[in-house]
């Protein structure tokens, strides 16, 4: 506990886009509740404590740490270990930390492939074939950059995690609800969910929150969304042939994308009890295909032009598939 008697709170971003921080800032006046009930010990976006200050804290002295972003390089992993040591409750906050998110799709490519692309694009002039070096000797001295890992890891692949908060980003009303719960726990008015639980989300699927009508209709083809002449504003997108990920995706966002006539892309991760997101989605898609003829089924499935992206868009790094050997060797608790 801190000098002012309030429990300590921390939030950190590893390899992330900053959207999680924006989502937290968007909880508005609830931020004041955080301030009233916690001593904000470490939160780079909002205040100025440093790694060194965190290192100096006693172990387990931070009550709650929200960790967002994936583990993309050595520095990310070092901070994950540091915050694990210092925190009583470590939350994998948002899709990147929980399951890898979009940057986890990089696990389909080797570091060499990534460098070959990024440092040799059509607008890049690189006659010397430079690529980033962890140590590089300039005339004035050596410059260091952190080691880029062969794959992006989820937080629980490098340290044990207490809770998971899904979403890209987690919706602000869900963040506010979690803040409220933790404050109640502090005041003895509620208890924490069991360790390992997913918090700040529903226990069902996006379809259950979706206002669109489902008629248990089956389809003869998948279509790409830009090919649809006029998207029916009332009817289930999947029944219109648009590959919507709602049936496999955890609810909690309020079905924002399908409500806006855009397919769910799965940012809230697998629904409760689903071990592997892609497998569940394949099952869901298979169930709407109206055919018993293997050739026709194949033809219909060819309407999904990018299976790995469709079925593991947000959770390749955290899925059972996990591309890349080093990910299998992760020492996390999951």
């Amino acid at each position: 506990m801190s000098t002012n008697g309030k429990p300590k709170f921390a939030m950190y971003w590893a390899a992330s886009c900053g959207g999680c921080e924006i989502a937290v800032l968007n909880i508005g006046e609830k931020i004041l509740d955080v301030d009233a009930n916690f001593d904000v010990a470490f939160w780079p976006v909002a205040m100025d404590a440093k790694y060194k200050d965190v290192e100096a804290m006693p172990d387990k002295s931070i009550l709650l740490t929200l960790f967002n972003g994936g583990i993309r390089n050595k520095e990310n992993e070092e901070i994950a270990h540091l915050l694990r040591h210092k925190s009583q409750i470590l939350v994998a906050f948002g899709s990147c930390a929980s399951e890898g998110c979009i940057p986890g799709l990089a696990n389909l490519s080797s570091t060499q492939d990534i460098y070959k692309t990024v440092y040799h694009t059509v607008s890049t002039e690189n006659p010397a074939n430079f690529e980033p070096q962890y140590e590089y000797e300039m005339p004035e001295g050596i410059l260091y950059t952190p080691e880029f890992y062969p794959v992006l890891k989820t937080l629980d692949q490098v340290v044990p995690v207490d809770y998971y908060m899904p979403g890209c980003p987690p919706e602000s009303h869900q963040i506010a609800a979690v803040v409220e719960l933790v404050i109640k726990v502090l005041h003895g008015e509620a208890t924490l969910p069991p360790a390992g639980a997913t918090i700040g989300a529903g226990v069902s699927t996006v379809c259950d929150d979706c206002p669109r009508q489902r008629n248990v209709k089956t389809i003869k083809e998948f279509v790409r969304i830009q090919e649809v002449n006029s998207i029916d504003p009332e009817l289930c997108l999947l029944e219109q042939g648009i590959p919507c990920n709602g049936p496999a995706t955890r609810n909690g966002c309020g079905a924002l994308c399908p409500t806006a006539s855009a397919q769910c892309i799965g940012c809230y991760g697998p629904a409760e009890g689903v071990l592997d997101y892609g497998s569940r989605l394949v099952t869901a898609f298979a169930s709407v295909i109206d055919s018993n003829d293997p050739d026709e089924i194949n033809r219909i499935l060819d309407g999904i032009p990018d299976p790995v992206g469709q079925f593991y868009r947000f959770n390749l790094a955290g899925s059972l598939m996990r591309a890349g050997k080093p990910a299998w060797q992760g020492n996390g608790s999951h």
Binding site: P103, A106, T117, Y136, A262
Partner: protein, 489 residues
């Protein structure tokens, strides 16, 4: 004794931005290096994905400006499919984008830049934050700032379906339109936004322009660089955030040309250095001459100020008045004093607000004709928008099914990597002499050099108190720490 100074800003968006300052034997600056130590590899892993997903995937490059990636990606995907969205589709996208600009520029001015000017660059650290600003100018204004951010986000949500990472732009237009009720709501927010932007410009005028010390600081040499300016302009060379050609203006004000999105590789090239993960874009026609000023150096900048420099004015009346006042006050075009970026940003804030009302009152904005189904075989396309932090270019190639085979991105802040590095170098040289470091001013002066660009790799830009924590460690030749300087730490 050769000494090395490391400045480690900890508040950042991606990775750990680091400044290394090397001193020579005399204790003067030998060189400075600004390193960006993080990479995620979007240009590689987007290959193999369907092109219509790019407005969703590339949102995740930046959660602070996902709208910019959403738009650049949608425009590039339109180009890949050789399809033009119907007029309503373009209007809706630009309206979403204007709402985003309004929120983003408000956040930057009040949370980040405001404290330096409203409180003063030498005010006590504890007061140089947004709370200090609110205390000085009144609680009511704090409420207005929060309201401004909410309104902008709300416009994004109405059209884009979500507050963060919008989802409705697809090749050929959008998945949905807006109702008359929503239109009225946006128009009302737009009128409020115009008043707020005018109020913000008045505040800037009263507090900054009315204070000789601040004006001298803006006009001072330490924050001046003679580089090229670039920015997106319409067919009349007026500023536009969503569409047009990129105008390129030399340090002496001569427009050396304009390029359409699909001509960008004739104009822009990127340089790789082995000591950083980020590339350095420069003007290909001029060439890379190192981190130097002048007409012979291909270094350019892409910010609110460069957009004004590269244009002939604004299309909206109130912003045009401010544009004229800006150049009249600062001695004509182009303006090179980098702190004037803050003023230019407020002129853009007013333009965005006026544009919200213009677009929301267009008779076609509620038309159901917001999407054209693409029919041509997809091939290759480039989409360019002006992100708040610089010209954003997305370039895609696909196979005949619209599956990506090549992706190239030149992201807003990346444009400014070289000029920011130069600003840091200049600040260091003017503050370190014969081994003595101006400890008091050093950190804040470097920080201000940084902040004018609103760099996204130091998402310090969007930090709540508006402070960039910096630490300077001075080490002797053996690597032993001699002194540690800290600010906001």
């Amino acid at each position: 004794m050769s000494t090395r100074i490391t400045i480690d800003p900890i508040t950042r968006l991606e990775g750990h931005g680091r400044i290394e300052i090397f001193l020579n034997e005399e204790g003067n600056v030998a060189n400075t290096y600004f390193q960006i130590p993080e990479l995620r590899g979007f240009e590689r892993f987007c290959v193999g994905r369907p092109v219509e997903e790019m407005p969703l995937l590339t949102n995740r490059i930046c959660g602070v400006c996902p709208e910019a990636h959403h738009m650049a990606a949608a425009k590039a995907a339109d180009a890949v499919y050789h399809v033009e969205p119907p007029r309503t589709g373009k209007l809706l996208r630009e309206l979403l984008y204007s709402g985003f600009y309004f929120t983003d520029h408000t956040t930057h001015f009040y949370a980040l830049a405001g404290p330096d000017f409203v409180m003063g660059p030498t005010a006590p650290v504890a007061e140089r934050n947004i709370l200090g600003v609110i205390h000085k100018v009144g609680l009511e204004i704090g409420g207005k700032v929060i309201q401004a951010r909410k309104y902008g986000h709300h416009i994004v949500e109405i059209i884009g379906g979500r507050k963060v990472h919008p989802c409705t732009s697809i090749p050929g237009g959008l998945t949905k339109g807006i109702t008359e009720e929503q239109r009225v709501e946006i128009e009302q927010m737009g009128h409020w936004a115009i008043e707020f932007a005018q109020f913000s410009l008045q505040l800037f005028s009263d507090i900054v322009l009315g204070n000789k010390e601040y004006l001298d600081l803006i006009l001072g040499d330490i924050y001046t660089h003679q580089t090229y300016s670039i920015g997106l302009v319409d067919e009349n060379n007026k500023v536009n955030f969503y569409d047009g050609k990129v105008s390129v203006v030399a340090p002496d004000g001569e427009r050396i040309g304009k390029y359409a999105p699909n001509e960008y590789t004739d104009w822009i090239a990127e340089r790789v250095e082995p000591w950083t993960y980020l590339k350095f874009p420069y003007l290909k026609k001029v060439g890379w001459k190192g981190f130097v000023d002048g007409k012979d150096s291909g270094v350019y900048f892409a910010t609110p100020l460069s957009r004004l420099n590269a244009s002939d004015g604004m299309t909206t009346p109130l912003a045009q008045e401010q544009y004229e006042k800006f150049y009249a006050t600062l001695g004509g075009k182009p303006v090179h004093q980098r702190l004037a970026i803050h003023w230019a940003r407020l002129i853009e804030l007013l333009y965005a607000a006026e544009r919200i009302v213009e677009l929301a009152t267009d008779p076609e904005i509620t038309s159901p004709n917001f999407h054209t189904v693409p029919t041509a075989t997809p091939t290759e396309g480039v989409g360019i928008v002006e992100a708040p932090r610089g010209t954003l270019t997305h370039h895609y190639k696909t196979d005949e099914r619209g599956i990506l085979t090549e992706v190239n991105l030149i992201v807003g802040t990346t444009n400014n990597y070289a000029p920011i590095s130069m600003s840091i170098n200049k600040a260091a040289r003017s503050l370190i002499h014969n081994g003595s470091v101006v400890t008091e001013g050093m950190l804040n002066m470097v920080e201000m050099a940084f902040r004018a660009y609103d760099p996204c790799f130091g998402c310090a830009t969007h930090s709540l108190p508006g402070q960039m924590p910096l630490e300077v460690t001075i080490r002797d030749a053996n690597g032993e720490t001699v002194e540690v300087l800290r600010q906001h730490c």
